[in-house]
Point group: C2
Chain length 136, copies 2
DNA sequence: ATAGCCACTTTCCTCTAGGTACCTACTATA
DNA sequence: TATAGTAGGTACCTAGAGGAAAGTGGCTAT
């Protein structure tokens, strides 16, 4: 409740249209960050290879890049153990964990509305609008 | 509340790790979609050029692409008026409007935590970790 | 007769995220 | 001696997204 009002209120004060969500989106929803945060949240503290294996298709280079970014943003902590062989552990921070309700909200919306999107896509593809686009 | 539990529950049932949020992210948080939805939500029904002018830096090609995608996903409706000059109006749908609380949630998180991210970045840049990366 | 408007479409070009493959140093194991 | 395991780093390459600019068509205003 009042979410609607917040949205409107925030937007009308921002003519430049860099709507307040865009910064969050860049931080949290860039490619690979959600699977990483998700895994760290659900599986707890993990080593590099564990993460890589669990996510499955990510390459070590990109995983390193994303983990650095998340570390810099304060969403994960990296702990280096100077042993042999070297051991590094990644863990989600409190700040990272504070995203959990947001993710839950996302999942809830998905559960309730994803089929509507699917339906809309199906309808659109089955009967594409002949308003002006698509030249006969 | 229970958001945390939802997150864990959903993840443990999904070993493939296409976490339930990734589909939503592709639909809602791809580039330019949030400014477009935002503008349509706050300013109401609008024509193509109004949208373009308000968003400012988007090119007509990309705006068309995004609007088609949003139309296909059922988040906006396009109304074509075969007049002279032609007139097209875009409007957000109920499905699109159902994202409002989610956006509000995002904005709330941003308001409360964006400064922490900034701080973390500042700290990280000021004193980069010497665990293993960066060779002296 | 020419210019302009709208809502695009088309063509070309650039830029970068991401992928492939190979490299480091160190030790334990076979 | 050779291999495997660890946590990456580095160089190179490609595909695709996105930007710039010009074209399209039909009517209208000058």
């Amino acid at each position: 409740m009042a979410g609607d009002t917040d949205w409107v209120a925030a937007a009308t004060t921002d003519p430049a249209l860099a709507c307040p969500t865009s910064a969050v989106i860049d931080i949290v929803f860039s490619r690979w960050t959600t699977p990483i945060l998700w895994t760290l949240h659900t599986e707890g503290r993990q080593r590099f290879v564990e993460l890589q294996r669990r996510i499955g298709t990510i390459t070590p280079k990109v995983l390193t890049q994303r983990l650095r970014q998340l570390e810099r943003d304060g969403l994960v902590v990296r702990t280096y153990h100077p042993e042999v062989p070297p051991r590094v552990e990644y863990e989600i921070t409190d700040l990272g964990r504070s995203l959990a309700p947001l993710f839950a909200h996302l999942a809830t919306w998905a559960a309730g509305n994803l089929d509507k999107v699917e339906q809309a896509r199906h309808d659109f593809d089955a009967d594409p609008p002949r308003g002006a686009h698509s030249s006969p």
